[in-house]
Each structure stands twice: as structure tokens, then as C-alpha cells.
Amino acid sequence: MQAYKKHESIAALMNRSNVDTDQIIPKQFLKKVERTGFGPHLFHDWRFNDDGSDNAEFELNKPAFKGAQILVAGDNFGCGSSREHAPWAIADYGFNTIISSSYADIFYNNCFKNSILPIVATKKQLASLMSEVAANEGGKFIVDLENQTLTTPAGNGFKFDVDPVRKDNLLKGLDDIGLTMQHTDLIDQYEKKHKQNYPWLWA
């Protein structure tokens, strides 16, 4: 996994709550057997008109949001299915940071496996952030994971919480499977005990 660096970028604003994974990456794009190439289909049904042209009404199509690496979105972002195609599409499009007041659990986990930092803001912080992005489209935000700070173009911002283990893995770009496999001996020991305790599972 790619290490998560300190990022300075404009932020795109998506002032909607309960954005679901069917919107993030509609099902017609889930048939691929690769992990790559989902970015062009991100938010497909909202982003494109029926003739395939850009829907000018859709937030992310605003010229001021082009090239944004930070997505500021409403509550309960990523609800719905477990499809990791959602964070794959988000990362492939170019976002590395999401800021919302809450996330669906599976989506939240999936972000950390794909070098995406999902920042949890309080509702108040999110509201003020949304106002600032709206008032200053194209302003640069700084996300510093090491120090757990977000700084707005006006110099405001806040400190955010993140699980220390997840933070460390993101900063170092560590692969979870490799980390777990360092403890194969512990898994072997557990499995031996498991076979004794629940023999019918191994018959």
C-alpha cells in the first residue's frame, strides 16, 4: 500500500448525507476482475448525462473542484454495500482524504486499506468547514496526518482523532496481511486450541 503523505490540496464539497456505495460506484461497473480503472466511473449516475457528457449540475464537475484530493461530504458517508470498489474508485479519481461527520463501518475500514484517510469531524466542525469551502472554492487545505491536523485556507482548522494503529499503517504504507503473517505462530497456537475446543468444526 502507498504511504499516506502530508497533503495540500483544494477540497471538493458534496453537501449530501447518506451518500451510498451504489452512488459512489454503480453496480454496472462491478464486473471487472481488476482493482484499477474505477475512477472514470466514480459517481457515474450523478456525474454524467444520459448522452455521456458531464452533468454540469453535479458538484464534482465544478471547474473549481477539479484536481481536488480532499472530499468534504455529509453524514453517514459510504453506507450500503461492502464493495471495496467504492474506495478504489475514490482513490483512482484522485481523492486521498474524506472529511465527514460519520461513515458506514465497512466503508471506513476499506478506506484504510487503500491509502485513503477518512477524517471524522464533529457536526459543528463539518458545518463550518462546508461553509468555508463554499465561500472559498479553490482554497488550499492542508492535511497533516502525523500531527492529526487539518488547516483551512483561512488558517482555521481542527485536530482530528484517528486510531493510532491505523495512523501508523497509513503513514508507513504497511500491508495488513504482512503484519498479521508475522504472528503466524500465534494463529497456529490458537488454531490448535480451537480444534480441541470445537472439534466438530474440524471433522
Binding site: D22, L30, S102
Partner: protein, 465 residues
């Protein structure tokens, strides 16, 4: 210490708490389908890793399989490749696969219980959010992403954060034709789609113990729609008698041993929950969603709300957006909403009891003019059982299409989908924008309500028929 069922399962599956990683949880059963697994197998291959315990895996093909003309090659070349990739991956790794032609084939969450592959007290995962279904057996079952699918294949474990405990206590008697689906929708309406975030829900109370195993599966299936990754129902005599004699269920002395363990699983009296929600079963009407989120739901005797009926500004906006997308006018009676297409099936409501109740409502009727109605059994076993009972004839005589098993219109990946503006009464689990086809409008209901709508051409209060 008094423990909840979730805490008991968590504690017994904790492999280790090692520095630099979240607690490692052992996984007993890993379920698979063709959509969320190919990239995980590719990852294993690239890293030269092996599947640690092939026996823990059961795989099926369900999401993009056609529900008619099954003998012909799959027309969609990308879907065809996905199905072939699944077969190849299972073959290479020695995994048990119920492919499209296998008599055991069907929707993963329907097939797994049919074979007794999940037992109480297990930790069960699948790259699918509706894995929560198996909580009906008192197993901790939850959906995971593809990176985690790869993780479980390689290590038989997952780094996990412990969830909070939520108790949803439902006592009282459900009215006739109110079902587990209506309970699930009523819960989502009450606590919202984020209400269960960070929690495992335990469903308890007299209304829950009265549910059949299939009803409990429907209920737990939709725990995710209330934001919880898993739902649980304590195992009881119904659970044990459902499991007895199935292919992967222990027998003989092993059965006695397993049973003793299963009986130790229910939450201790006095166990502490972080959140407690109560509902009165008698107050739960047959439910119909009117919006584009499962929390936008109401009883059949009600009207569609208007944005100003909500206090919360975000909910007002969500209501306005939903009415616009759904092409509905506020304060219309639910029973005045017309429908174009009826879908009975999915991992939520594709079991034999679902088809029995729908057939009971359908018997001797004809579907309304201009209505299309499709019945998609959850598995070949469900299909055969229904045909043995003559249910297929009831549907066909009424003008329904009787299809082959698969996920079908629940997520519309296989070509079964709504066209722009078409309105469905669907027994599936999500009414998101575009879920059943771009521009399609979905109303989630129980099988009985779906069948009644097929005949009337609009929603009807099934209790009054």
C-alpha cells in the same frame, strides 16, 4: 462478568492482541461470490500466498448470473469473465463452489443455511454486507471488503475493532401479514440508516423468539440497513431443529458436544448493552418505503411525508430529494402509489416461506394490467421445493414469471433491471437511487405486500384483503 452473546463470541475468537495492530479475530467460515473475490485471489497470487484453510470456504455464483436461459452462454462478456474467473480461482485453490449449473446453486446467504454451513457461535465473513443474515443462528457474521477477503484467505484472521452492543427488544404479537421484513424496515425507520453504526445488534423479545428461522434470517439480513455490521438472535430449539441433519451440521456425539456449546451462547442475564431500543410488535404495520433510503419508510395506512414534516434540516432536504427522484407528491396515500414491476426474491426474501405467503395472496388472482411480476427463488433448492408444492403454478397462472435463482433485481447486475421512471414493489433490501437500474424507483416491501400490489397495480393494505 456478565457477557452479551457478542462478547462471548468475540472473546472465544480472539487470537491475539499484538502491538501495532488491532485485535486479531479468528474466522470460522468464509463465504464467497464472484463480484468481491477476484481481486483478492489476484492479490494472493501476486504475493505468492496460499489459502490457509480451504475447508472454511463455501463459494457460489449469484450476483451477475442470468435468471433465464441458463443453458445459453452468458451474453454479457464482462459478467461471463467474472463467473469464469470465480470457477478458475476455486479450482486452483481447492474450494467448494456451487457454480451456476450445480443443483446447490443460489444466492450465497440462502445457500449457506440450507447446507448447515454456519452454526451458532461461529465468526463468519463474506465480501458482502448482507452476511449479517447468519446472525439468525447466533453466529457473529459480518460483511468485509475485498482486501479483508484476501486477509482472511491468507491468515484465517482479521484485525478488528470491537463493536458496541445494541439490544433491540421487541415484545408483543405481530398482526397477521406483518412479517420479519416489516420489523426490519420499522427498525430502520426508527433508528435511521446510521443508527446502528459501530454496534452489533442483538434482537430479543417474544416477537423475535416467535419468528421462524427464515424470519430471523430476514431480520438479521437487514441489520446493515440500520448501520450495524451484524445482527444476532440467540439460538434456541428452533435453531437446533433447523440445523439438525443438514450436510455440514455435526451428528452423533459431535452433535451433543456442539449443542452443549450452543446452549452456553445466549447473553447472560444482567449483561450490559450500550444502547437499548424497544418496539411493540403489535404496532408494526406492513411497511412500504417511499424514498431512496431504507429509513424513508412508513406503514401502509399512512401518507407520504412532506419535507416540512421533519424537524431536522438534513432530513428535510433528503425528503425533498427523494420525492423528486421517486416522482411522488407529498401527502399522497401510500395505497395510491401505482406500481409497474414486482420482484420477489433476494437474500432478504427469497426463501420458501416468502414464496408460500406470496402464493397464498396470489392464488386465484391475475396480475394487474401493465404490471410485470417476477419471482426469483433464492436457490435451486427453494425453486424445487416451491415447485413440489405447486407454488410455481400459482404464480404462472396469475401472470408471473418464474425464474432461475440469483440476486437478480436486488442489485440489477445481471440484466434484470428497471428502466428509467419504472416503479417497483420489491422484496429486496435497498431502495437507493439507481439500485435496481438507472432512474428506477424502488419501494421495499414484504413478499405478501408485493404479491398484493401485483394484483391491484398499487399498494394495498394486505390486512384488509
Amino acid at each position: 462478568m456478565k457477557k452479551t452473546m457478542y462478547e462471548k463470541i468475540w472473546d472465544s475468537h480472539l487470537v491475539a492482541e499484538v502491538a501495532g495492530q488491532a485485535p486479531l479475530l479468528y474466522v470460522d467460515r468464509h463465504l464467497m461470490h464472484e463480484v468481491t473475490s477476484p481481486q483478492a485471489f489476484e492479490g494472493l497470487r501476486l504475493a505468492k500466498r496460499k489459502v490457509r484453510n480451504p475447508q472454511s470456504i463455501l463459494a457460489t455464483m449469484d450476483h451477475c448470473v442470468p435468471t433465464k436461459d441458463r443453458d445459453l452462454p452468458i451474453a454479457d462478456p464482462i459478467a461471463k469473465k467474472q463467473v469464469e474467473t470465480m470457477a478458475q480461482n476455486c479450482e486452483e485453490n481447492g474450494l467448494n463452489l456451487y457454480d451456476m449449473k450445480n443443483p446447490n446453486n443460489g444466492v450465497i446467504h440462502i445457500v449457506v443455511p440450507e447446507h448447515g454451513f454456519v452454526h451458532p457461535g461461529m465468526v463468519v465473513v463474506c465480501g458482502d454486507s448482507h452476511t449479517a443474515t447468519h446472525g439468525a443462528f447466533g453466529a457473529l457474521a459480518f460483511g468485509i471488503g475485498t482486501s479483508e477477503v484476501e486477509h482472511v484467505m491468507a491468515t484465517q484472521t482479521l484485525p478488528q475493532q470491537k463493536s458496541k452492543n445494541m439490544l433491540i427488544q421487541i415484545d408483543g404479537e405481530l398482526s397477521k401479514y406483518a412479517s420479519a421484513k416489516d420489523i426490519a424496515l420499522a427498525i430502520t425507520g426508527k433508528i435511521g440508516t446510521a443508527g446502528g453504526n459501530g454496534h452489533v445488534i442483538e434482537y430479543a423479545g417474544s416477537a423475535i423468539t416467535k419468528l421462524s428461522m427464515e424470519g430471523r434470517m430476514t431480520l438479521c439480513n437487514m441489520a446493515i440497513e440500520a448501520g450495524a455490521r451484524a445482527g444476532l438472535v440467540a439460538p434456541d430449539e428452533k435453531t437446533y431443529s433447523y440445523l439438525k441433519g443438514r450436510e455440514f451440521t455435526p451428528s452423533g456425539a459431535s452433535w451433543d458436544q456442539a449443542l452443549a456449546y450452543w446452549k452456553s451462547l445466549p447473553s447472560d442475564d444482567g449483561a450490559v448493552y450500550d444502547t437499548i431500543i424497544t418496539l411493540d410488535a403489535a404496532e408494526i404495520e406492513p411497511q412500504v418505503t417511499w424514498g431512496t433510503s431504507p429509513e424513508q419508510v412508513t406503514g401502509i395506512s399512512n401518507i407520504i411525508p412532506a419535507p416540512e414534516d421533519f424537524d431536522d434540516e438534513i432530513k428535510q432536504q433528503a425528503c425533498a430529494n427523494a420525492l423528486d427522484y421517486m416522482g411522488l407528491t407529498a401527502h399522497t396515500k401510500i395505497t395510491d402509489i401505482p406500481v409497474d414491476l414486482i420482484f420477489i426474491g433476494s437474500c432478504t426474501n427469497g426463501r420458501i416461506e416468502d414464496f408460500r405467503i406470496a402464493a397464498e395472496v396470489t392464488k386465484g388472482t391475475k396480475i394487474a394490467d401493465k404490471v410485470t411480476a417476477i419471482a426469483v427463488p433464492g436457490s435451486y433448492h427453494v425453486k424445487k421445493q416451491a415447485e413440489d408444492e405447486g407454488l410455481d403454478k400459482i404464480f404462472i397462472d396469475a401472470g408471473w414469471e418464474w425464474r432461475e435463482p440469483g440476486c437478480s433485481m436486488c442489485l440489477a447486475m445481471n440484466g434484470d433491471e428497471l428502466t428509467v421512471g419504472q416503479r417497483s414493489a420489491s422484496t429486496s433490501n435497498r431502495n437507493f437511487e439507481g439500485r435496481q437500474g438507472k432512474g428506477g424507483r424502488t419501494h421495499l416491501v414484504s413478499p405478501a405486500m408485493a404479491a398484493a400490489a401485483a394484483t391491484a397495480g398499487h399498494f394495498v393494505d394486505i390486512r384488509k384483503l
